[in-house]
Subunit: 192 residues, 2 copies
């Protein structure tokens, strides 16, 4: 299982946003939607061995975590708008401390990064990490940020995690996900 956690610093923690304004009023929810697409889609299928955790840190009641499970998800489409609808639906159901499904393979709970770090070990994908291609063992679980840097508090939370970089230029989070998964694909297939 590969786990990908994406921090949405301004992404709303309620479903009161418009899927026609994902990049504006919805706190750059478009970035998170593209991350879902890059994490799950192959040309002719879904990566069933991937889970994505979107951590929504915008108003009104952050943090919230939405989990997308490749093994169980149905009706996922690659466009931003349809993923935005799934997020909106997940934010519309009552949430507690444990994950609760809003639909097949999509679940929501209260809490954010610190809770997730207790449950799983993560590496961080960032600009100044070690080259992922040179990693003796690829990280199974990674954390990425949206268009904003990690906050000081988040930096402290992940200070013990190894850090990797996908290339010499700083890229959008969804491109970094494609690059990481490609490296996994290559090693699994003996392409390296």
């Amino acid at each position: 299982m590969k786990r990908i956690c994406v921090l949405g610093h301004h992404a709303p923690s309620s479903g009161e946003f418009s899927i026609n304004d994902l990049a504006g009023g919805a706190g750059r929810m478009d970035i998170l939607c593209r991350c879902i697409g890059s994490a799950f889609f192959l040309s002719h299928g879904i990566r069933r061995d991937v889970e994505v955790f979107l951590i929504l840190l915008g108003p009104p009641r952050p943090p919230v975590t939405i989990r997308f499970s490749g093994a169980e998800i149905r009706s996922l489409n690659p466009d931003e708008r349809s993923t935005g609808s799934l997020i909106k639906k997940a934010l519309s159901i009552p949430r507690g401390d444990a994950f609760r499904e809003s639909g097949p393979g999509v679940a929501v709970r209260k809490g954010g990064l610190s809770k997730l770090l207790v449950e799983h070990s993560f590496a961080v994908l960032c600009e100044n990490g070690a080259d992922i291609r040179k990693a003796a063992v690829l990280p199974e679980n990674v954390i990425l940020s949206d268009h904003l840097d990690l906050t000081t508090e988040e930096e402290e939370s992940v200070s013990g995690c190894p850090a990797y970089s996908v290339g010499p230029l700083s890229l959008h989070a969804n491109a970094a996900i494609s690059l990481l998964l490609n490296e996994h694909d290559r090693r699994s297939a003996g392409w390296n």
Copy 2:
């Protein structure tokens, strides 16, 4: 200059589509929009040395080519919807045999792949090409298809072009673009 050509087999050749239905009624225009994002966006800027040619092959008057020029483009945003608006605008102006600008860095003309192949040499990015990481010299100009395979006629047009693959699994076109550009970035920066 790197040139990326994406074939949109059902993408409409008029602006009569809804930016709220890019993945449905707009003939998978969402795929082309994501390709624009992957081709141009860095975290903190635009790739100025990239041109993208979207070839629209859907009704009513195909083929049409829209050119996005990184060197000149303004007001490009990474979300699908805003790119869809730029495409819609390009399709709303009169088009002739030469490129005509619909806005800074976005231009449109009649004609498609065969015309472009006369002007530039291209390689093809596809599932069964040679591993891009092993290419002695990376291709500057590449052709990709949307969610559909090349037609027999298109296959014949590119039969003389070298073919490369970005990895062992078949991926969405925008992910393939991210992987190609990452390989360029790495070689330029001496990361390989």
